[in-house]
């Protein structure tokens, strides 16, 4: 059986990564667009991790940006100030550290569900936001700077220069690809089978002998680590972190993007990010009151586009999901 849930997904994924590979060549004169798209790729990882949790595990969170921000902060805090560190090593550190934090946080938030979980995740994210915003040692509201970008050698081989926009772009693209593959593979695995079962009917899954708390916790930790990885990449892109990375607006707009793209589809995250960000960019340049148009758009989307853009495409292309 194919890993793709639908023909639409297959077509989209191939087209997307094919086009994405050529972006830096196309914009070779203009680093702005390469940077902008890198940011969108990073956001896609973040939103995809959110979709894993919300769309597939059935746990709604309004505080996911907490891990996005933590990814950046953990890195900024852990690195020695005047030393170039290894990218891969710190990728591991950041993801492991945020995983441990997610384990503890998950232990609290997963005791609740539904509307409670929405509010508790939100409140915990605010708490973390204030922790950094009020701190003196972590730069307060002004955030922290990362002065030296890490080097990326593996076994002495160095083929990526993070200061080069194009190299960084490909790193983001590769990361997104890995993230997508990981999400798809794990959701198609035995673990994924249980996750799907728990999302659809937690009561039944419990009666069949699954400790749903453990599965949710694992999913929460995974998703949070991925979000932290996205935040880590973001902090690398421009070399700074700021508490607003974990503000509730970031969590809310990520949710909007996930739903716009098509909840539970994983690939919809990419769609959601690119459509939302392009609209934001476009509307913002046209009117001072972009918030009004964004708000209206979101409401229309909720009322009319029930399964997101991915659902729309699947209807058009055919090959509905099984």
């Amino acid at each position: 059986m194919s890993v793709f849930s639908s023909k639409a997904e297959k077509v989209f994924i191939f087209a997307f990564f094919f086009i994405a590979l050529g972006i830096p060549l196309f914009f070779n004169e203009n680093t702005f667009y390469v940077n902008k798209i890198s940011t969108m790729l990073i956001l896609s990882i973040f939103v995809m991790s959110l979709d894993y949790l919300v769309g597939r595990t059935g746990l709604i969170t309004l505080g996911h940006a907490m891990f996005y921000g933590l990814g950046g902060y953990l890195f900024a805090i852990m690195i020695p100030e005047y030393e170039v560190v290894n990218f891969w090593l710190y990728t591991f550190y950041v993801m492991a550290a945020s995983g441990v934090i997610a384990l503890i946080v998950g232990f609290i938030v997963l005791r609740t569900s539904g509307i409670y979980m929405i509010m508790i995740t939100l409140a915990l994210a605010q708490m973390t936001f204030y922790f950094f915003a009020d701190s003196t040692e972590y730069g307060g509201l002004d955030g922290l700077f990362i002065y030296l970008k890490p080097e990326t050698s593996i076994f002495g081989l160095n083929f990526l220069d993070l200061d080069n926009e194009n190299h960084f772009y490909y790193l983001c693209l590769l990361s997104l690809f890995n993230c997508y593959v990981f999400c798809k593979v794990s959701l198609h695995s035995r673990f994924g089978r249980v996750i799907d079962a728990i999302k659809e009917n937690p009561e039944r899954a419990t009666a069949l002998g699954y400790n749903i708390f453990h599965f949710r916790l694992v999913s929460y930790v995974l998703s949070s680590s991925l979000a932290a990885y996205a935040g880590y990449l973001f902090s690398l892109q421009y070399g700074f972190v700021n508490p607003t990375m974990m503000s509730w607006e970031v969590s809310a707009s990520a949710l909007v993007m996930a739903i716009l793209g098509g909840l539970g589809t994983i690939f919809g995250a990419i769609l959601g990010v690119f459509v939302y960000e392009s609209l934001h960019y476009g509307i913002e340049h046209m009117t001072q009151y972009w918030m009004f148009w964004m708000g209206s758009l979101i409401i229309l989307m909720v009322l009319l586009l029930k399964s997101g853009i991915a659902g729309l495409i699947e209807q058009l292309v055919g090959g509905k999901r099984k």
């Binding site: 902008k36 940011t39 204030y130 003196t136 421009y238 700074f240």
Partner: protein, 394 residues
């Protein structure tokens, strides 16, 4: 004159280019491509009012020159920072790499400033900060291509320390929001106040942006200091001054502060603000011809009174005009342009000023008192005050 719409802007630009080329005839061999001025200010969110005023001031300065400098038209590229630091690098990168702006005016917010400064490093664009006060912008993070037409946090609070001693205060409680601007202001005040023999008995930091001040006011009442020095701006200062009065502290413990306490907020504060002493590099009522002319013109252009932020934007415009005129319209040679900028003497509504080595204004700081809803200048608290620019290696 605010062109929010990009296409509209381009059209106007095209016609103005044509007009100037017709006027100057074919004889002028000089460069007639537009000078690109990127404007990165907040137009939505809490700081939107400041962004608008700074933009107005900037445009007023350029309008006085017919929107041409040394024969070159001016093109504005406007983007809304929303005062969100996380967006700053991306937007800055758009200015430097996509639009190839010669100058970038911005921002208002210190957090955004830090993000921007990092992004203009080693770029060709010259950044001019029309408000953000973070000391580090012209201190530890100072760069050849970063100028500031406003102030450093240190400058606005440091002179008040000596003033407080002169007023006879020995024990002072200081209080501000717990963020960079506030912390730097309190530190600068304490620096001069304690050097002159005063004692800061308690330093209170209120989490930003909390405006529930009752418990802090009660605490101040229990300490009974000689005076209270505060830093607040915008909505927070309105709330604080009103609460201070309502708790009955106003008549008993004098309130002094950095000038932002009563900038743009004085009307909303009403009578509660009467008698407050503050220090700042400007006051609406400053009595000099330049200020009067500036304010009159601003009022006629925008139909509302000018404020500090408009002045700072205006001076950013003046800085560009004088420097580009000095290089005879050459903006390609950034080194020469920066040199020209370092040499200008700006005839500002706040009184004339020039730049320090770290590119921060060396300017007068005034002691102001609120009387009948106006900031009235009492005296010059510190003349030609230069920021210490700690950590700057320029």
């Amino acid at each position: 004159m605010i062109f929010k719409n990009k296409t509209l802007r381009k059209v106007v630009l095209a016609s103005s280019v044509m007009a100037t080329s017709v006027l100057s005839g074919m004889s002028a061999h000089a460069d007639e491509s537009p000078i690109k001025i990127g404007v990165m200010l907040p137009y939505s969110g809490v700081y939107a009012g400041l962004g608008e005023a700074a933009t107005n001031g900037l445009k007023q300065a350029l309008k006085e020159k017919g929107n041409t400098i040394a024969g070159r038209p001016v093109e504005f590229i406007i983007s809304d920072t929303e005062a969100k630091p996380a967006r700053a690098p991306e937007l800055t990168s758009a200015m430097t790499d996509k639009d190839n702006a010669d100058f970038i005016i911005g921002p208002v917010h210190s957090g955004v400033a830090m993000g921007m400064i990092k992004s203009v490093r080693n770029k060709d664009s010259i950044m001019i900060i029309p408000n953000a006060g973070a000391n580090a912008a012209t201190g530890a993070f100072c760069q050849p291509n970063v100028f500031r037409t406003s102030f450093s946090s240190w400058q606005t609070a440091y002179p008040m320390g000596n003033q407080a001693i002169e007023m006879g205060y020995k024990k002072v409680v200081t209080l501000s929001w717990n963020y960079g601007f506030g912390k730097e202001s309190l530190a600068a005040f304490s620096e001069s106040f304690e050097a002159a023999g005063g004692e800061v008995v308690k330093e209170i930091f209120v989490p930003f942006p909390k405006t529930e001040f009752q418990s802090y006011l009660t605490e101040i009442a229990s300490i009974k200091p000689d005076a209270v020095f505060v830093f607040f701006a915008g909505g927070g200062s309105v709330k604080f001054v009103k609460d201070y009065d309502a708790m009955g502290l106003k008549g008993k413990i004098p309130l002094i502060g950095s000038g932002f306490l009563t900038e743009g907020t004085i009307e909303a504060q009403g009578e509660a603000a009467d008698g407050l002493f503050t220090t700042l590099h400007y006051a609406d009522t400053l009595d000099n011809p330049k200020n009067k002319a500036f304010r009159a013109e601003y009022l006629s252009l925008y139909n509302k009174p000018a404020d500090l932020y408009a002045v700072q934007g205006y001076d950013a415009g003046q800085l560009i005009i004088q420097a580009v005129e000095a290089t005879k319209g050459n903006t390609a040679d950034k080194k020469a342009l920066i040199k020209a900028m370092e040499g200008v003497e700006i005839d500002s509504p706040r009184g004339s000023f020039h730049f320090s080595k770290a590119h921060n204004p060396i300017q007068n700081i005034y002691l102001r008192k609120v009387e009948n809803g106006e900031n009235v200048v009492v005296k010059t608290a510190a003349a030609n005050l230069n920021d210490p620019a700690r950590g700057c290696r320029l």
